[in-house]
Symmetry: C2
Subunit: 338 residues, 2 copies
DNA sequence: ACTCGTCTTTGAATCGTTTCATTTGTTACG
DNA sequence: CGTAACAAATGAAACGATTCAAAGACGAGT
């Protein structure tokens, strides 16, 4: 009994046909009570475990959904992934997570892998331009849903968050506090960041006398944020912005660390500070950080739903769902509005 | 063309036998240049993609390795996972990651799933007692390696880090700074935490006049750390410990936040602070945090290596590899030793 | 022309499951 | 007693790749 028993072994042991064993597993109602018991007993005795490869081969498709993210270490993506997994589990599917690490060759590798696995569908937060590959996938009957990226609905479905709106919300909030000289910290070369900046600029344009200065950070990490923060501390007080909007929470936490460490600048009195993503760490920062919350669970859940839709309609109809981000006010931007 | 082509379709299209197509894919040297080219051309034209299920069925085993972790959100585990993935990729395997979320029913679910997939082996950071299940797996020819948990080498292999040594290192370092009244923050109900505490107590026992107070935290999060920190601030200064050792970095960061926010206690002058894990965030904390580094990449890599060993020797020989943690000194414990 | 050896190619058998048209068994009713 | 109606069980065919014994092609040597 060292190696795994097959359905045939079970059939022999229980003295029934293989089809009957299969029925016990898949359509218990078609089998009489007596036989069912006998088969189940044999299964237990032989320690039989279904061979998924054989199942899939016969079925022509796996019960697996591929998910390719830019960075599993990023709380935003791990949260989306978890939600997707939960939603998939409810549908009897499993999610395989691949981490592209923003590298398009790794991305391609996972796409190939998932195709060989005959996944039910693919959720992807693309690194570069994957339009053509997605066309190919569609032709081969693999529905694809873009995650955190707006899709051309002729091509495929997508779930994303309105980054421009998020940027607008953040800047508007700072302006409502009476702040006029704003600073935006981030790397606008990233599409999502550029949109957030654009939204912020729109809000600023609506208020006369308001301005926003762009501080291009070297990356989106805590460390990059501290560098920006240090440069702010070095400025003459009157040249410092009255409010800072960072394109993600890690940056904001870095800026906060610089400012609070030097103790010359108070948050929020001297500089109001807001981040983006509302990661778990934001609430427990030295000064609890205001942020723009993205509905990560909804993203993950909806991605799976859209995939299911595509499977139903044969991948002919696509839909782009855009969520609205939400302002979360905490101490780092506390203060009476003007 | 809409659905995926099979090897048979390729054979027909290229006017060769199926076996030849298979050889082109698996043993290119056996095939003549001319035929190879023709087959490859057909593959490209038909957009043929190998069906992994069929391969696995024939092979009897998949090229997949299952990894079950306690929490993918935890940087420690995501780092181990990444290292394991890289090592597995080099061997031509793929790692499937399952998140048990410290829930033994989810853990069991993934174990079942991985068995159905006929994984090459299983890496697991167990929630509860999985000894029996591992015995079953071994009987069925699925080698298992415990991760971050010492194994009985009669049963299976394991990779872990000497937690007691780590605790000893941390406490010793604090004592070397001249601090005598130490506090340990953590939840000793967790095995790893208990070992770290034990190590700390051993170090304390070696120094006359030294003591360590145990502060049981409600969890291992930043928030839990802040609660402990607040309770320290509320104490009369002379009743505060001179040094604090937290069983993980998140806790330490929480403690740090409380202490620095209140500004009555200075780190490291009044209280020296050290954490555990050396997560990326530690270096960029308000006061850069000293910590005990665990060799996460080595853990992941070695886990895969041990699995390969077990596959070679048929799962008969097991080995327990124990790594030694490393002290990383930063500003939070700076100061001349006595 | 024939044989031997080497290099290619062939195609049937196999892996373990699901499916489904058939067969077998049972009960009810005229 | 015959048979219709239904339930349960059967087992061969299929899924798509790999394997391997056998056949085929070709050139060299005699």
């Amino acid at each position: 009994m060292s190696q795994t028993a097959s359905i045939k072994d079970v059939a022999t042991h229980a003295q029934v046909a293989v089809g009957t064993v299969s029925n016990v597993l898949n359509y218990p109602d078609r089998v009489s009570q007596r036989t069912k018991e006998r088969v189940l007993k044999s299964i237990a005795e032989l320690g039989f475990v279904r061979n998924d490869a054989a199942r899939q081969l016969r079925a022509g498709q796996s019960r697996t959904i591929g998910l390719i993210v830019l960075d599993v270490g990023n709380p935003f993506f791990s949260s989306v992934a978890r939600a997707a997994e939960d939603a998939a589990t409810a549908l009897g599917s499993v999610v395989l997570v691949g981490d592209s690490g923003q590298d398009s060759s790794r991305e391609a590798h996972y796409m190939d892998l998932f195709q060989e696995q005959r996944v039910q569908g693919l959720l992807i937060s693309p690194v570069g331009d994957v339009g053509e590959r997605i066309d190919t996938l569609r032709e081969r009957g693999v529905p694809t849903v873009l995650v955190d990226e707006l899709a051309d609905t002729d091509r495929c479905s997508s779930v994303s968050v309105d980054d421009q709106e998020g940027g607008y919300l953040a800047a508007k909030h700072l302006l409502d506090l009476g702040r006029r000289r704003l600073a935006f910290v981030g790397t606008p070369s990233i599409r999502q960041v550029a949109s957030r900046l654009k939204g912020a600029q729109r809000a600023v344009a609506e208020v006369s006398g308001a301005s926003v200065e762009v501080l291009d950070s070297a990356g989106q990490t805590v460390l990059a944020g501290r560098q920006v923060g240090n440069s702010l501390v070095e400025r003459a007080p009157e040249r410092r912005p009255e409010a800072v909007f960072c394109s993600n929470d890690l940056l904001a936490l870095g800026v906060m660390q610089s400012l609070t460490m030097l103790r010359t600048v108070k948050i929020p009195e001297d500089i109001a500070l807001i981040g983006y993503d509302d990661i778990d760490f934001a609430i427990s920062a030295v000064v609890p950080l205001s942020s723009i919350r993205q509905p990560t669970e909804a993203l993950g859940r909806t991605a799976i739903e859209l995939l299911a839709e595509e499977q139903d309609n044969g991948g002919t109809k696509h839909r782009a769902v855009v969520f609205t981000p939400e302002l979360v006010v905490r101490q780092s931007t506390a203060g009476a509005p003007n």
